[in-house]
Subunit: 349 residues, 2 copies
């Protein structure tokens, strides 16, 4: 491997000149620059990352902590990871992978000056890692919004806005009774970061639109879907619009509607809130509010880089979702009460 001195010699300049050509931190004459660049090219020179890190205290590597086990949606995670890796390269950085289950990983890579900055996925409402990260004092971006970000930047889907968009869409079509079936009960209990925002978003949107609304969690199974539908219908009898925020349970919900004989969108309009790129290929998808995994990953990198370069203030950014119409929403049937042909109680369970 050639060193910077080899390049300097080949170009007939000093090593520092080569360094300045590479970094652009001092002005270099066009002629010199050209000679240096040609020498670099010819020798196939690549700066030694360790030497550079030692001299400059910058590694050009950022750490990405990824949840690996039992995590909600693998597709979404892979989309994040891909977006982060790709975007990091745009900023001339590489990505070091950290896994959730190595608790001391964050200390290790920062203490050992392995990375310049950190991106941590899957932040829960009261995530113990937030304290650790705040103490480390490195540029950090959390994916997910904790109760107290401790001065760290956060980025996440705009769940509140997403559910708001869904409700507004249905209300604009004329629906006056809207149900929301969301995450599984234990998910809500555990990592309720987004669940809270979804709940508040739904309440606010329903109030703003002046329509009746009801919410229920849902398990990803046929019985779960039946129970959830029954719950929201009990509260809002003339329910004609349905917002589903649970990718796992969506097929069950649609299956239950079909088995009831409830037609979509004639009897009930359905909007799903789901990851944008996850189940792209699946047929029979409803009109959806697409949560932009790629954009969140990209934004995370841009934010952490901004903190690394200039000293911008920490911020919390919620990336908006967009509605994709797939024809599963329509104005409610005149005369109302459509879609309330309920399955008989004995049929449930």
């Amino acid at each position: 491997m050639p060193t910077i001195n080899d390049v300097a010699e080949a170009a007939g300049v000093s090593a520092s000149t080569v360094s300045y050509v590479l970094s652009g931190k001092r002005s270099i004459s066009a002629a010199t620059r050209a000679r240096v660049e040609r020498a670099i090219e010819q020798l196939g020179y690549r700066p030694h990352a360790g030497a550079r890190a030692l001299a400059s205290s910058r590694t050009n590597v950022l750490a990405l902590m990824v949840p690996l086990r039992q995590s909600a949606d693998v597709n979404v995670i892979m989309d994040f990871v891909g977006a982060v890796a790709t975007r990091a390269r745009r900023h001339d950085h590489d990505v070091l992978l950290l896994t959730q289950d190595e608790t001391t990983g964050l200390e290790r890579v920062t203490g050992g000056s392995l990375v310049d900055a950190l991106i941590v996925m899957d932040i829960e409402l009261d995530d113990p890692r937030v304290d650790v990260l705040a103490r480390l004092g490195r540029p950090t971006v959390l994916i997910g919004v904790p109760r107290d970000p401790r001065g760290l930047s956060c980025v996440d889907f705009d769940f509140g806005g997403a559910v708001g968009t869904a409700v507004e869409h249905l209300a604009a079509l004329g629906h006056r009774g809207i149900g929301f079936v969301g995450s599984s009960p234990d998910a809500v209990a555990r990592r309720a970061g987004y669940a809270v925002r979804v709940r508040d978003g739904f309440r606010a949107a329903v109030a703003a639109a002046g329509v009746a609304g009801a919410m229920s969690p849902v398990e990803a199974s046929l019985p779960g879907a039946r129970a959830a539908l029954a719950a929201v219908r009990a509260e809002v009898p003339d329910l004609t619009g349905l917002v589903v925020h649970n990718e796992g349970a969506l097929p069950s919900v649609l299956a239950v509607l079909a088995e009831e004989g409830t037609r979509v969108p004639q009897d009930v309009s359905v909007v799903s809130i789901e990851a944008a790129d996850a189940s792209q290929h699946l047929p029979g998808r409803p009109t959806s509010i697409d949560l932009p995994s790629l954009e969140v990953g990209t934004a995370a990198v841009d934010m952490v880089m901004a903190r690394l370069e200039g000293s911008v203030a920490p911020e919390t950014r919620l990336v908006p979702a967009t509605l994709t119409d797939r024809g599963t929403t329509a104005p409610p049937r005149r005369g109302g009460r459509a879609g309330t042909r309920r399955v008989s109680p004995s049929r449930r369970r």
Copy 2:
């Protein structure tokens, strides 16, 4: 951040002594070692990774190149990645993430001395990266076996053994007509590495067991499943055993059997070949040959480390799969011809 000199001073020794305590490359008296270790503890000292890499030409980082887009099974990839990251830590290494679409990534991280070794996933039969890797001359492990490994180590599922186990299992139960429905046609055409081994494995196992066998690719859809079943039955009329190697198409195959009225396992025994940890939770899974994603990832790290430490020769390792009985296989019904109640031609398509 304290440096090695701070530690040396605090412990009343020289920096080199601290270094030798850390590396264990020279004998150190118990007393000195204890003092140094206490100083390290108290100061919270962590060696600077860049300085270490510069001085020792070892980074303790390995690169993992991951396919991100359009790849077969995201679950399997995540299992790999998790296993690699976890196992790398066991060897005191970190993992740098490289994505498939950055073609120059391999040159960059090796040339820049960012990593010591490389693990590259999803190697196809004629993968252009193999040439690049061979030229780089770093310890490398390919996940997947190319036609010509060019002196690089490889590790993969033992697809041939897996299909052999499936056939032997069915043959031992008394089945004399066995069908194999495998990957989608284009998958076979594109990255045929495993497809070849599966095909050869099936032919060999069928021959060894002295039973009739037929193979067909299958698309992941109901019509695809119908066509594939029809194809193998056309070739082996008294087909009572079915091996399915296509996670996507498996539900369709089972659905087609159900809609025919073919009972499993009374009329047809079904064995699936699939990733061990991917769809763990799904109900209704058939007896399966489980491809051990985690073990392959672990083996990849162990192999690349072995090449890094001592100079062991390159090797190709195929990790065996194990059969998990879930009750979808049984002896064929006496008198044969069971399971051949075919759906009428008009019913197909």
